[in-house]
């Protein structure tokens, strides 16, 4: 192994295996790990150290997730024993919390799930359409004042919603939109989640310009370039946008609390909150059961969309 050429001046026309060996991500330490090293032997058990590290990381992860797991297990326990058993394995599986919680409020819980689903779907669709359009303009079109508009767009990302919520409320109540889903969906159709514009601008800029130049020579207009070339190539960015919009909207509490005050319009977060007022503090079982139900969609999005989530955060720094 010691004769592995790791010099950076090695030529590219060497065999593929060698080319793989000298790929830039391959660090010296990785190479060194393969070389029997005298110094390595002197250290006391690198294997034991690694094991301890893994045990610590798993232990810490367990502490982090313990409240969640405990809530899951408590949702299957009868109310009386929730607080007597801090353990995770319920002695008996009991689904009455779920049936009780489902019907505890004015409407069955499915009603609130449906309301949330409508708001989420509308928001996802709105963000996908409006933000990708704006991003195309910022990434590919030349127009007067582009740097200025771009800067304004970036600044709106940092604007706290609380500064505009009062006049928004007045505006939407003039339009008689309070207690409809319109105040929650229409702004998304108007690209007010500028964050996603930025995310897609970054992505579009990474796509080769030659593609759209070739299309232009073939007589394609911007509409077709956008629809036929940019969007199909941007599926990862669109997926990231859809996933984050889903999670944020599903969790959103502040604006839904303000714009939805009639019980039949309640979404899941608002319904859950009302639960606390409607029932006394002693009925934690049904409350936990519905909390679990409310977290399931996020959990699934997390499970299947993790790749895009991590990429999205790493490139733009969102939550």
């Amino acid at each position: 192994m010691t004769d592995t050429p790791v010099r950076p001046d090695a030529h590219t026309e060497t065999t593929t295996t060698t080319a793989q060996r000298i790929r830039p991500e391959r660090t010296l330490s990785e190479v060194a790990a393969e070389v029997p090293d005298v110094r390595r032997k002197r250290r006391v058990g690198p294997r034991t150290r690694r094991l301890i590290k893994h045990l610590l990381l798993i232990g810490f992860g367990l502490i982090m997730l313990y409240p969640l797991l405990w809530m899951l297990s408590s949702s299957f326990k009868p109310n009386e024993i929730i607080f007597r058993e801090p353990g995770l394995i319920p002695s008996e599986i009991d689904l009455t919390n779920y049936t009780a919680g489902w019907n505890a409020l004015l409407h069955p819980f499915s009603h609130y799930l449906m309301n949330s689903a409508i708001v989420v779907m509308g928001s996802v669709l709105g963000n996908l359409i409006s933000c990708s359009m704006a991003a195309y303009a910022f990434a590919r079109l030349k127009f007067r004042g582009r740097p200025l508009w771009f800067a304004i767009m970036l600044m709106t990302i940092m604007l706290p919603i609380h500064v505009i919520i009062v006049p928004q409320y007045i505006l939407f109540s003039q339009l008689e939109w309070i207690n409809t889903f319109l105040p929650l969906i229409v702004p998304k159709l108007l690209a007010t989640d500028a964050f996603f514009i930025f995310l897609m601008v970054q992505f579009f800029r990474g796509l080769p310009k030659e593609l759209d130049e070739a299309a232009r020579l073939d007589g394609c207009g911007h509409g077709r370039i956008f629809l036929r070339i940019m969007l199909p190539l941007s599926l990862p960015a669109l997926a990231t946008t859809a996933i984050f919009t889903f999670i944020w909207t599903w969790n959103d509490f502040f604006s839904q609390l303000i714009f939805l005050t009639r019980p039949d319009m309640y979404t899941v977060p608002i319904a859950l909150r009302t639960f606390l007022d409607a029932t006394s503090n002693s009925s934690w079982g049904p409350l936990f059961a519905m909390s679990i139900v409310s977290l399931i969609p996020i959990f699934f999005v997390f499970l299947f969309g993790q790749k895009y989530l991590v990429k999205g955060i790493a490139t733009t720094g969102i939550k």
Partner: protein
């Protein structure tokens, strides 16, 4: 990260006067322009105007000058809400970032099962903002909650943490620290950019791990630390849901979790004192803007851009 560089770039960019695709741009930007005007800019200016008026939705706004702003500084609850928010921000954000950096470093450098650990630590960030987690927190730190059950094993009689004025805010800080996963993922991406050869050279020269951390990791990671700091500070100042749910909308016990935004909500949408709420909102904007500016200014001295 890139966002900050973009802002810096546009400041220096020469004005582009090419008109090339003006028409197409107008079409593609139409939704955004309408949104910017109607949903963002107009409300922003309207709330500035309203902040100088007395307005309750029922009657037309009545101009009162700077009265709302004067009232803030005489309002004990407003001062309390400012104090609560500052305490929350300045304790929980640094703790959260320190945790994120620590775990990111533990997970770095080809650790087996990295993706698995990353998922576990990241999950709370996705759930942390939800009402369900706030309800869970209320129970975990309640009088006969999970924490006290564990303390009871050691014979310690705990408080009802969420209903004790000295500790309620602390439980919310812990909740914020619990969501360290998002900055951790950003740190992980950043650490991957630090060339391993620096560490190798340093350890050949006999530098200790601690020394390597302060002389290599921190300087090279400083732009990302800075970015995370700005982001988390702005986010923490606007925290609302958790305090609202844990305190049942009151900000109690005895206003100990009265976040700024919570008080703003109470004034604007419970008392319908919308002029006063607007003044509070503009003051919040001022704080956030100042903090960001200070951060940008300070970053010149400690952030190291390797160009």
């Amino acid at each position: 990260m890139a966002m900050i560089q973009e802002v810096a770039k546009t400041r220096h960019a020469s004005r582009e006067t090419r008109k090339g695709d003006g028409k197409a741009a107008a079409v593609f930007l139409a939704p955004w322009f309408i949104g910017l005007g109607l949903i963002t800019a107009f409300p922003l200016l309207a709330s500035l105007y309203l902040s100088f008026t007395d307005y309750s939705l029922l009657e037309p706004p009545n101009w009162v000058g700077i009265e709302n702003y004067q009232r803030m500084f005489e309002d004990a609850r407003w001062i309390q809400s400012l104090g609560v928010t500052f305490r929350y921000v300045f304790f929980s954000v640094p703790l959260q970032l320190a945790m994120a950096l620590m775990l990111a470093m533990a997970l770095d450098k080809g650790l087996r099962g990295l993706a698995f650990y990353r998922s576990i630590y990241y999950l709370p960030s996705l759930l942390g903002g939800s009402v369900a987690i706030a309800l869970l927190w209320r129970q975990v730190f309640g009088a006969d909650g999970l924490v006290n059950q564990f303390l009871a094993y050691f014979g310690i009689q705990g408080y009802g943490w969420v209903s004790h004025p000295d500790y309620a805010l602390g439980t919310l800080m812990i909740l914020n620290v619990w969501t360290f996963g998002a900055p951790m993922v950003i740190f992980l991406a950043g650490l991957r950019q630090v060339p391993t050869m620096y560490y190798e050279a340093a350890s050949i020269d006999g530098a200790s791990k601690v020394r390597q951390f302060f002389s290599i990791t921190i300087p090279l990671l400083s732009p990302i630390i800075f970015f995370n700091l700005v982001l988390q500070l702005i986010g923490a100042f606007q925290a609302f849901t958790q305090a609202f749910v844990v305190s049942g909308g009151t900000g109690g016990p005895i206003d100990s979790t009265l976040f700024y935004t919570l008080y703003l909500y109470q004034q604007g949408f419970k008392s319908f004192d919308m002029g006063y709420a607007s003044a509070m909102a503009w003051f919040l904007l001022l704080i956030v803007a100042c903090l960001t500016a200070v951060n940008f200014f300070a970053s010149k001295y400690w952030v190291f851009y390797d160009d």
